[in-house]
Subunit: 198 residues, 2 copies
DNA sequence: GGGGTCATGTAATAGGTTACATGATTCT
DNA sequence: AGAATCATGTAACCTATTACATGACCCC
């Protein structure tokens, strides 16, 4: 049902999208990703840029256009998007938007093991999380406000709004969870079930 | 500040947690993970179980205890957790709970490129997402209700509640976004900026 | 003009996924 | 008994990350 993308790494999508605009070499791509703030949504390293360019080339989504040797810097290969590449961006983007895919946040794994910690310890660490979340929310809000003050339209900040929405939901969840863990019946039943451990 | 874990894969945490209970061989681990529903929070394949066992062994968190050859099945190696392993579980779990880590949901990447789609197309795909989200929420609720009917305590379902909280936040976000995209000024400004493309 | 640090890329290594293998067991 | 499927593991292959390399520019 979900046929595999030839280059599934999301970095590849961003790269293709930039090449829609104009041909570029990998290092330049990196600069744009950083400047546009997309590095906050995409996990990558400089090396992975070279890797995906290679993969995209093999897949036929981009093609090396020319190799510039500007006689100082190392040789830079400039890549251009192909027609298949253009098709891939459009199709992939639609799919990504239309179909939620199972994500695996680390916090969920930790939650599934929460019963291992004594109740008061659990409350303590979750309080720390809550504070950290508040900080991240604040930070993201600031980023958005600054960009907007610079005249950037809301549509180019929508991914940050999404981030904020998720962070706030998590903060509320954690607050509720802390309350539940503080109930004396929880402490009691935890003692009963987990009391017998070294 | 954040020293790297020797075995950063979250599957390793779940494995260690199960071994706290009793020594096991990898295949058995797989069965437990599936039966306990942790496979909904952790991304892994059967092979990666063998891999992490190897990594955990190298790291000194587990040790092969005995190799059972029950003269029918292939040889199975039973692993036991070590003291360092016990320490690692506890420390890792606390860290994971206390410190939010940057996650990279695919949807955020797609959102950052939303401006590439014509407004009506964007609305259409987001509506499909919204419906899919509603389905997932419903499904998760059912899972929780069934488990609870079986007598499972809330603390063992807390990760599912978290999933639900995130899904609902996303659904609300998408609903709002759709409304924004339907505004006629958005269609107008999209035409102006993006009208000039093939 | 030697010490950072940009700019740019390659190579080595570790991690993870897919494909393959093989002897039970169970079904019809 | 042959087909399907379970139980279990290994090997081959990609992917991604870390480490290494190298020439310019820039700063006192």
């Amino acid at each position: 049902m979900e046929r595999r993308r030839k280059v599934p790494n999301p970095l590849a999508l961003a790269v293709l999208a930039w090449l829609l605009w104009e041909p570029m070499h990998p290092y330049e791509l990196g600069r744009r990703l950083k400047q546009s703030g997309q590095d906050r949504q995409i996990h990558y390293t400089r090396s992975s840029l070279y890797m995906v360019m290679e993969q995209l080339t093999r897949a036929g989504f981009v093609a090396p256009q020319e190799t510039v040797r500007d006689s100082a810097r190392p040789e830079r290969t400039v890549y251009a998007i192909t027609d298949e590449g253009r098709h891939e961006v459009h199709d992939w983007l639609r799919t990504l938007l239309a179909q939620p895919r199972q994500e695996y946040p680390h916090f969920a794994v930790a939650l599934s093991l929460l019963s291992l910690l004594p109740p008061d310890e659990a409350v303590e660490v979750l309080r720390r999380r809550s504070a950290a979340l508040a900080g991240q929310i604040e930070e993201t809000r600031t980023t958005v406000a600054e960009a907007r003050a610079d005249g950037l339209a809301w549509i180019y900040l929508v991914e940050e709004e999404y981030t904020i929405a998720l962070l706030e939901a998590e903060r509320r969840f954690v607050a509720d969870l802390i309350e539940s863990l503080k109930q004396p019946d929880y402490a009691r039943s935890w003692q009963e079930t987990m009391g017998d451990r070294t």
